[in-house]
Amino acid sequence: MNSVLISDLEATRTNSRTNVCSTGSRVNNTLVGAAAVFLSGSLVFTSSYFPTSATQRPLSKSFGVGSWRVLSNPVSDAAAISLVQTRATPASTAELVSRLREDAGLTWEQLAKLFDVSRRSVHLWASGGKMNSQNQQHALKLVSLVDAIDRDSSQERRLAILTPDESGKSMFDAWKLLASAGAQEINPAAGPAAGLRV
């Protein structure tokens, strides 16, 4: 299995605060969770649906919360991340949605399915409505995945995302499953829960 290391997120706003989770020198309170979840191995990106560096296109675009670069992991199959990130602002939710719409060529309905939310919620985000932390992290993941598709136009990327492979599944199908993952870690010393109530 060819796993993926998401690394070196480039901050693109020179006037914004930059946080480096991997080195621990500065920590962003929103994105530590994303890193922790990925590092715990709860997400493993496989090669067919999650593009690797071999197909990565240059990070030419910039947007409000930075962008991610996806690299192959030469060491192990476990997913790992180090990232550099800027704090997301309310305005950036609209930019995130806009970026996904423009770069991936996805419809509102398709975006709603990728986030496991209603279409009206995606419309709201596009108008600057608040995006909760789990969805914010999911949006960043999706942007990084779209970014890594080696196609020149949004139409070609859309085709790459939606076209099923020989198993009948597309990248889109796989990405939908990501919607339930991603968490803001607030209890790093998590232990087993107590017994079930009957």
């Binding site: 309310p90 909760n132 789990q134 968490a183 803001q184 209890n187 829960a193 079930l196």
Partner: protein, 306 residues
């Protein structure tokens, strides 16, 4: 009020909710003390009751609830299911249930507790029974996380205030986790709003007074803008954003105010809670199957249980 059921010597026309006065001796400890007979209601599903190959029937004691009848009637006491056909204070007590041999009670007269032609009442009976017996068993450690929501749905829900008006528009709360028994799960709180109450986004920019609420406004501040009066509610992108903020505010309440020290393992049971608002019309069957109803009347701290 409907009269006695026909054909009392068979169960062919017997229905869920029918009331039968059975000898108290058949019921053991759950019978009404000092009374020769005890009224019970059939809680077996009607299709099962009429089948001749089913030897047993499940019944529950009918109780006169004089105190707190209004709470029981509105569903705040899931132990009780109303039997309004026989009186406004008559309820099925689902904590006192027994199985009886059909042959032993087939000849006893029956009275409908729910009118068979009142489909709303039939549905309410069915939901009441299901609510009591089919609810999801949340792990003990998870329950304290949702306790902070209780006052909003118990106390303020009935009041003529912006909070009361707003919360009455909520149809259901559902919660979702990939694995409830694994510690540190990321949880979603789905706030499902009555279809006619959740506005469509008009794609306009969000107004200044809504933006001025900031990133984490209080429930009160949000509700003051959502439903300032009975006849006024906020629409368009503003209204949708306010509901969006409310879902988030409820999730934050759970994260910040839960008394997680009261139950072993509670503090580590959940890593995050994210609120998500939905219209009844938008919430999918797929999500329904992946989530559990959050029934605040049923959630009880294990510390207060027997």
């Amino acid at each position: 009020m409907t009269g006695p059921c026909e054909e009392p010597d068979s169960f062919l026309n017997c229905r869920q909710g029918d009331v039968i006065a059975v000898p108290s001796g058949m019921l053991g400890a759950i019978a009404v003390a000092g009374s020769e007979t005890t009224d019970v209601a059939v809680i077996s599903q009607s299709c099962d009751v009429v089948r001749e190959d089913r030897e047993w029937i499940t019944v529950a004691v009918v109780e006169e609830v004089s105190q707190n009848a209004h709470l029981a009637a509105r569903g705040s006491m899931p132990q009780y299911v109303p039997l309004h056909e026989i009186g406004p204070t008559k309820f099925i007590d689902l904590d006192r249930v027994a199985s009886l041999k059909k042959a032993d009670i087939v000849s006893l007269p029956r009275t409908p507790g729910v009118s068979p032609t009142d489909w709303d009442a039939v549905r309410r009976l069915s939901r009441g029974l299901g609510r009591k017996f089919s609810r999801f068993a949340f792990p003990d450690a998870v329950v304290p996380w949702f306790d902070p929501l209780r006052p909003y749905f118990e106390g303020k829900h009935e009041k003529q205030s912006s909070v009361g008006r707003t919360f009455r528009a909520i149809s259901e709360l559902r919660v979702q986790s990939e694995d409830w028994s694994a510690g540190g799960s990321a949880t979603k709180l789905h706030v499902i709003v009555k279809a006619e109450e959740l506005p469509e986004s008009d794609e306009a920019k969000i107004s200044a007074d809504v933006l001025a609420l900031g990133q984490n406004p209080s429930v009160q501040a949000i509700c003051d803008l959502v439903r300032p009066s009975e006849s006024v509610s906020r629409g368009g992108a503003d209204g949708l954003e306010l509901w969006n903020l409310l879902a988030d505010a409820l999730a934050i309440l759970c994260m910040s105010k839960a008394k997680k020290d009261s139950v072993a393992g509670a503090s580590d049971a959940i890593s995050s809670i994210a609120g998500q608002v939905w219209s009844e019309n938008d919430f999918s069957l797929s999500l329904y199957r992946r989530s559990e109803m959050l029934d605040l009347d049923h959630l009880s701290s294990p510390a207060v249980g027997i």
